[in-house]
């Protein structure tokens, strides 16, 4: 086990991947709690498809992938948020419209330029080889800003997630905080997308939150538990991906699924957990 790890970390590209991946899983897990509770899970999925489209276009134009994808996905996030708040087209249908269109445009651009090759497979399902040195620097800066902003606005994010009307009535600018959540989610998704794959990145947002909600009963413990679950699953997933040559996204999601089932079974099978008078 330790020899495998030692061997893995001789490769600088793997160290990079793990550092960025851990940071992204942390951000995704923290934001995920709020997104899942606000019934915004599908926004994450929609954004990753938009991300795929913009990466394809960036590659075709020979532009830096993150520099193109970050602003495009942030814009899409604001759009999706507005659509799910007030619109004649229902939110979930609007998200499906946008995400499939972005996917189609991405696939069309790729097939017209480079052709469908292994790159496309990597975009879709993730690869540990995806991170360049410049990407790592940008990811570290953006990822740590997401963490800092989340920590600073934690109580207001809770208030807005729990009861938007009350928060608004007591003077919290809820529109601003919804936009902040959308912005942070967009940045996190773009950063994690190439490692996790466009098809699978939304699992990183949704799984840890749902997993910890099986057992935890306080917002704070749900948040902390999600962060731990997410980082552990990511790390195990990367090791599995290294050992088996499986796409990283797939192996990380499989670990997340396993932990989710474990937590779910624990909540069902251990009656003592349900009857406990004081919550965790």
């Amino acid at each position: 086990m330790f020899s495998t790890l030692a061997e893995m970390f001789q490769y600088t590209f793997l160290v990079r991947a793990v550092v960025v991946g851990v940071l992204v899983s942390l951000c995704a897990a923290l934001l995920g709690v709020s997104l899942v509770l606000k019934r915004y899970s599908m926004i994450g999925d929609g954004l990753s498809h938009v991300g795929f489209g913009s990466l394809a276009i960036a590659t075709a134009m020979n532009a830096a992938p993150l520099a193109v994808a970050v602003p495009v996905v942030v814009l899409a996030a604001f759009l999706l948020l507005r659509l799910s708040e007030n619109s004649k087209i229902k939110g979930d249908a609007a998200i499906a419209l946008i995400s499939t269109s972005a996917l189609a445009i991405g696939v069309a651009v790729i097939s017209l330029t480079t052709g469908m090759n292994t790159d496309v497979c990597n975009y879709m399902f993730g690869s540990i080889l995806a991170m360049s040195k410049a990407d790592v620097a940008l990811s570290l800066i953006l990822g740590s800003s997401v963490l800092v902003l989340f920590a600073l606005f934690y109580h207001r994010i809770f208030a807005v997630t729990f009861d938007e009307n009350f928060a608004k009535a007591t003077g919290i600018k809820t529109g601003l905080y919804n936009m902040l959540i959308a912005l942070l989610t967009a940045v996190t998704i773009v950063l994690g997308m190439r490692m996790m794959g466009a098809m699978l990145i939304s699992a990183l947002v949704i799984f840890p939150a749902l997993t910890s909600m099986r057992v935890m009963k306080k917002f704070k413990s749900v948040t902390i538990c999600s962060a731990v679950v997410s980082v552990v699953c990511f790390f195990c997933g990367v090791v599995l991906s290294y050992l088996t040559n499986m796409p990283t996204g797939a192996s990380v999601v499989i670990f997340n699924l396993a932990v989710f089932l474990g937590f779910w079974a624990a909540a069902k099978l251990l009656p003592s957990m349900k009857e406990r008078k004081t919550a965790l």
Partner: protein
């Protein structure tokens, strides 16, 4: 000077007037009940009083040093909250999330008043209000596992954390059993007796005339505004009470 004053105010959605002709005032210590049938404009007026919706005509003025953001609000429960993982303490404390820090006068600007975390005074206020409503022993319990009556107490404590002067309640007893309903009305009356002004939207006319000092009766426009005693002898009041009592008897008869 009144705490709150509505002058010929109206509210509209997409150009369709929901309620109009609102002229009433609320003084400090009043207990105003807004009654009317479904679709009469009660909830719309509530949004207006909270500052979530601007009047399409007329005006709403606040006086006596009431800041719009210092209104305590007990909204109707949402679907999201029913399975929300949060402890009682976390929910009650969130009533303080919108409060600016008490800064020395003159130095009050947005930046110096902003703080990311709850201070000691916030926690003390939350604790006092939990104690006041008898939910202090529940503070580590999970909100979603409480009974409906307990959940309403938690939300009332949160509302009290946000205000010193005015409490707005939107159908606070909806979905509660008769016991819990009575308990909650008593708590609200107690809070009112301690000096807090209360404005409650309700279709429970019996409780309204029992507890409120003033009644505002809406039917897409203002039918009646005045004290409860005046309401009981007014044609609108007599008609509305008759009808609801008749309906209640009908229900009993069917059972």
């Amino acid at each position: 000077m009144a705490l709150l004053k509505c002058s010929n105010a109206a509210f509209a959605y997409d150009g369709h007037t929901a309620v109009e002709g609102l002229t009433f005032s609320v003084s400090s210590g009043d207990y105003l009940c807004i009654v009317g049938e479904n679709g009469s404009g009660k909830s719309t007026l509530m949004k207006g009083l909270l500052g979530l919706k601007a009047p399409s005509a007329g005006s709403i003025e606040t006086g006596d040093g009431l800041i719009a953001a210092e209104i305590g609000y007990l909204p109707q429960q949402t679907q999201v909250q029913k399975d929300f993982p949060a402890s009682v303490e976390e929910v009650v404390l969130s009533g303080r999330a919108g409060r600016p820090r008490a800064a020395p006068a003159g130095k009050r600007n947005a930046l110096s008043a902003w703080r990311p975390y709850y201070g000691r005074s916030d926690k003390a206020i939350a604790r006092d209000n939990m104690e006041r409503l008898g939910i202090l022993p529940l503070r580590h319990r999970c909100y979603r596992e409480l009974s409906g009556g307990q959940q309403q107490r938690v939300l009332l404590a949160r509302a009290l954390c946000a205000t010193k002067s005015l409490l707005l309640l939107d159908e606070p007893t909806a979905g509660l059993d008769p016991m819990a309903t009575r308990d909650l009305y008593r708590l609200i009356a107690e809070v009112n007796a301690q000096g807090l002004t209360v404005i409650m939207v309700s279709h429970d006319i019996g409780a309204a005339v029992q507890y409120a000092t003033h009644i505002l009766h809406l039917q897409q426009r203002q039918l009646f505004f005045g004290t409860t005693a005046e309401y009981l002898t007014s044609p609108e009041g007599m008609r509305f009470i008759d009808r609801t009592e008749f309906a209640a008897e009908g229900v009993e008869f069917n059972v």
